[in-house]
Amino acid sequence: MSDIAIEVNSISKRYRIGLKEEIHDTFIGSLTSWLKSPISNYRKVHYLSSFSNNEESDDIMWALNDVSFKINRGEIVGIIGKNGAGKSTLLKILSRITEPTSGEATINGNVASLLEVGTGFHPELSGRENIYLNGTILGMKRDEIDRKFDEIVDFSGVDQFIDTPVKRYSSGMYVRLAFSIAAHLEPDVLLVDEVLAVGDIEFQNKCLNKMDEVAKEGRTVLFVSHNMGSVGRLCSSAILIKDGQIKREGNVNEIIDLYSKLSFGKINNSNGTINYPESRDKKAYISSVRILDHQDRITSVLDQSKPFKIEVCFYVNEPSKFYASATLSTIDETVRILNSREIESIDTEHIDRNKGEYASKLEFPGGILNCGSYYARVGVKKMGISYDMKPSPSFELVDYGNVGNFQTTVKSNKRGILAMSLKWTSKKI
């Protein structure tokens, strides 16, 4: 059996999108265009799906453009990218739901696609009847469903209601039953498209665990998702798709990091400083935020093992007990790391600020946070109430390594927000 499960070679897919309609400003103009409409309508409809070769007109859009990659058997690969990047189109082509415009893909093994939960479910039919219906739609044979029937019902937790029409099910039950059927597919290659977005946390966990199991059985999984947490948890590698093309592929943490930077980094492409405009009507406002390294140099790239500082400069217009605060989180905002306020270091009694500009620096110790991209929301507050709140520049913690070489790689052997050396003790008992 070949080691390659999926091989994609120069796949492209184009669509026609609607162009702005011609608007007439004379009555004769509108009348003649109304009379001609059956002809132009026919052309328009026919146009939707016909292209002459090498045509490049305004209304053509390439959803995928020359995409190539290989996936080995047993790999779980995440596909991430913005909405509209082309991920679902890629999955549809690999699922044979739509045809590529050019290029070729080969899949070795049985394929099952999960692009939607509950495909084909009929509300008037019972759970039992829908299991057979949905199961065969997904590609199982009747005797296979007979064999797995009890397991499927068990996993879904709807045993009592299995003979009630599914339109009576709660949305949770519906989704659990639908996923349970899909979870018992045994394909060599599984293509999954963001179906885990539905359901409560307990259910999502169950799904992720089941997909974990599926992967351990040596099956290949292509997983499209917007949930970086799930992608990071399940996948060993990932492909980032941007505007119909592969931007990068590789280790999953690297790709997630790159994606976050591309999505959020643009807000703060600032090399360590952001200045904010003056705000005379506020009692106090933030004028600038800076990221400093352990030697007080302004920078956005920091050594993971050394401390760094976040400096909040703020103006006080009306004297009062104003103080700075900062909430530090990962750049994709999936993890909020901590919140810290000046008043934890200085006694509230002594925080009396007169009119003028202040610079408050927060120091974060080194060697604690893992490599990656972060940012902070900084604020100026009084008695717990915020008077101004602004984002800091984004910054990156980097592993300089023992040799002192500049390496923008994530410590991929260590997953997790923290990367600290902790002490272990051991004795024979």
Binding site: M1, Y15, Y42, V45, H46, L48, S49, K92, I93, L94, S95, R96, I97, T98, E99, P100, T101, S102, G103, E104, A105, T106, I107, N108, G109, N110, V111, A112, S113, L115, E116, T119, G120, H122, E124, L125, E129, Y132, L133, T136, I137, L138, G139, K141, R142, E144, P165, P187, D188
Partner: protein, 284 residues
């Protein structure tokens, strides 16, 4: 899509198709379980939560028969080949009701079924063929009333009854052919669903449902009425009447012409459907 043995893994190659595609019979057979459950779904779901349930399959032809008997048989005094008008029309209504229902539902099938074929792969050709099979259930139920009617009028069926399956096959082929043509066209050009209900009305009057083919023969001569056999339902309906009521000999020439026509419809419909299949998802 499952492998036949452990050592054999299927390899799927995905690339753009061009030119005419033939029907992949092997694939259709592989998906027979899906075919079965989709048909079952259609049959069961239609009558769930209705009070009358499957009796609807009887109400349609029976009520049509009553109205036609009053209007065409009674008022307009259309001849009925010497048979009482009610049963004359009912025998035609059984295959006609099936045909109209199968054709209408089949035409809509791609549009109403887009929920499944845009989300999962299976041979699309199954979709317009499902109503062709599921409506046979209604057809069978309507037959029950027929035997009651025949007993009432004291008519017994002829031995040509054994040819009924041929006629049934003909009507299924016609319905499938038209269904494949129209469903593929309907998903591209949404005019079609608007017109198909109207079309089936017109087709009913064009077929000898409420009038006997002998009228055409009397007016235009035998050859015209034989040529009319190109419309397959003519052969089906007159064949049904002859086999069940025995008033005329079996119209073999009509049936022969109609059968050829049905086969042409089926093959051309399948070819058109397959040629347009690749764009269904993109225009759905």
């Amino acid at each position: 899509m499952s492998s036949i043995s452990e050592s054999l893994t299927p390899t799927i190659v995905i690339k753009p198709k061009s030119g005419w595609q033939l029907i992949d019979w092997k694939e259709l057979i592989e998906y027979r379980d899906l075919f079965y459950f989709l048909i079952k779904r259609d049959v069961l779901a239609i009558y769930k939560q209705t009070v009358l349930g499957f009796t609807w399959a009887i109400i349609r032809p029976v009520f049509s028969m009553i109205v036609f008997s009053v209007v065409f048989g009674g008022l307009a005094k259309i001849p009925s080949d010497g048979i009482p008008y009610p049963i004359f029309s009912y025998v035609a209504l059984i295959p006609w009701t099936y045909f109209a229902a199968a054709m209408n539902t089949s035409t809509q099938s791609l549009i109403s079924g887009k929920g499944i074929f845009t989300k999962v792969y299976f041979p699309r050709l199954i979709i317009p063929l499902i109503p062709v099979l599921s409506k046979l259930v209604d057809f069978a139920i309507a037959f029950v009333i027929l035997f009651g009617l025949m007993a009432w009028y004291g008519i017994s069926p002829t031995k040509n009854l054994i040819f009924l399956p041929v006629l049934i096959l003909m009507m299924m082929l016609t319905a499938s052919g038209i269904g494949m043509w129209l469903s593929a066209m309907a998903i591209q050009y949404r005019d079609i669903p608007h017109g198909v209900g109207f079309l089936s009305q017109m087709l009913m009057y064009a077929a000898p449902v409420v009038w006997p083919l002998s009228l055409l023969e009397d007016k235009f001569g035998e050859s015209v009425s034989l040529a009319y056999g190109i419309y397959p339902m003519v052969g089906v309906i007159e064949g049904f009447r002859s086999a069940l009521l025995g008033h005329n000999p079996m119209p073999w020439v009509l049936i022969g012409i109609g059968a050829l026509s049905a086969i042409v419809l089926f093959i051309s419909g399948a070819l058109y459907f397959k040629s347009k299949e690749r764009i269904f998802v993109d225009v759905a």
